[in-house]
Amino acid sequence: MATEEYVTDSSSDFTEYWIDLFLGIKGNEYFCDVDDEYIRDRFNLTGLNQEVSKLPTLIDIITDLVDIESQPEEHRDTLEHNARILYGLIHARYILTSRGLNKMFEKYRNGDFGYCPRVHCQLHPLLPIGLNDQPRLNSVKLYCAKCEDLFNPKSARHSVIDGAYFGTSFPAMFFQNFPQVIPIHSKETYVPKVFGFKLHEYSKLNRWRELQRIKLEKRLVKNGVQISNVVGGFVTDPVEDHPQELEQSASRQ
């Protein structure tokens, strides 16, 4: 009987960690857990007192030094709300640190942020990014490293998360830190066809874009950068070295 009590006690203690509760809320799958030590180090929180009021109380709530139930009832909702904002803003800073990056790398590998919906990206995993570093301006977006484009999250739950909780620098820092996961970009494009014939203006724009890419490739090669089938480079078939021929053969088909 005594042991039983002990077990239930510890399990209820475990679920009451504020951060664990926060991460368990549906829609918060993009967040990783921030170390207690990181939150308690006031240096890491420089400037955040301008974004939320009662910063010390909020820190105590997040790190479970103070139970939110012990606060006056009329303040609880605002405190909880501000605690979540504060956690998000700390999170944006934490994921740029080495420990944070490693945690986000795990989530990236698991595909926690979803996959690129673009057909030619072949389900490349996405990374969260903010358009601003100030809160309350824009919701979180997802960055695909393969097409270097921004996407809206699929689920409505994710599209209400503030982008500032991830920050504008996160993907760039991520790829500085893990250059091995920079993808090889695909050159494939789509041109609408009617009865097998490409639509002219789309085709023309596509040719111009291809020209821009060829110019970029020339610039890179001139500077001694490897680009064929290497990280950050382009997928290259032997045939694709002569795009014009390819174009012609495609139009002949």
């Binding site: 097409c147 504008t168 790829f175 821009q212 060829i214 382009f234």
Partner: protein, 283 residues
């Protein structure tokens, strides 16, 4: 039994379009299916073609289940009187009917009434919005990457970024792309110029800010492996030189200009540097 089934009788086509995950389909007009000209060539692609066609049109169809003893006799007597072709079983027939309907659907939606019906579905955003942030919720158009049935599932085309996407819901991942065909989006965009107008507004809205990864406000140099390498993919000509260059792409890529254009390359680099300076100053 005599009157009840008549009352709640639902035509096969309506039933098919109301199935879970079939909300991309429009009901094909009965007259379109009844015109044999529209069905040219389909009989070789669909097994039990005639029975499938009758099913779609809600005619009486005999299946193997309806004549269990007849089949036994046929098998027993070594198909002596096999002038009547073998009867399909119900499951096979249902599959054939769906395949046939899909292929007719692909033809119907590029006819005038079909295009109109699909356009109003497009207008109501029934195919979903483009997931790309800079397309600002442009409505999508279903497309197949091939016209052969059984090859690829349906994709969604965004006329704004001119790219194809995977449907966001898994319920559409078993729908054949050939049931929409490769031609449909191109024709829809050309038939309803309003779509291109909507795209132009969006492109102009976002053409000014070109997105690229930044680290603490600084752009990443394109020589870096993590630098911008895919900007060309969604680029539009902006400056007058770019517009001239764009006009030179009328029939082919002017490749010879690239090799002689060293000075302009230098200019490009110079511009990039200027941009960096600006961001540093503003940050």
């Amino acid at each position: 039994m005599p009157s009840d089934p008549e009352d709640d009788y639902i035509p096969w086509i309506q039933q098919f379009c109301e199935l879970f995950g079939h909300d991309y389909f429009v009901p094909v007009a009965q007259e379109f299916i009844e015109d044999d000209f529209n069905l040219t060539g389909l009989s070789s692609q669909v097994p039990y073609y005639r029975e499938a066609l009758y099913t779609i049109l809600d005619y009486q169809v005999e299946t193997a289940e309806d004549h269990p003893d007849e089949k036994a006799i046929l098998n027993g007597s070594h198909s002596n009187n096999n002038t009547k072709t073998e009867l399909p079983n119900k499951a096979l027939l249902a599959r054939s009917a769906e395949l046939l309907y899909g292929l007719i659907h692909a033809r119907y939606i590029i006819s005038k009434p079909g295009l109109t019906a699909m356009a109003s579905k497009f207008e109501r955003n029934e195919f979903g919005s483009c997931p790309r942030y800079f397309c600002d919720g442009m409505h999508l158009i279903p497309v197949g990457s091939t016209d052969m049935a059984g090859q690829e599932t349906v994709r969604l085309y965004c006329p704004c970024c001119n790219d194809i996407y995977i449907p966001s819901s898994s319920r559409y991942l078993n729908i054949d792309g050939a049931f929409f065909g490769t031609t449909f989006p191109g024709l829809l965009v050309k038939m309803f110029p309003e779509i291109e107008n909507q795209c132009r507004i969006r492109i102009n809205k976002f053409n000014q800010n070109d997105f690229g990864l930044k680290l603490f406000g600084f752009k990443i140099n394109e020589l870096s492996a993590s630098g911008p390498r895919m900007k060309w993919l969604k680029m539009h000509p902006k400056s007058s030189e770019e517009k001239d260059e764009y006009n030179n792409c009328e029939y082919s890529i002017p490749l010879d200009e690239v090799s002689t254009g060293d000075e302009s390359d230098m200019d490009d680099n110079g511009e990039d540097l200027d941009d960096d300076d600006k961001t540093m100053a503003s940050e």
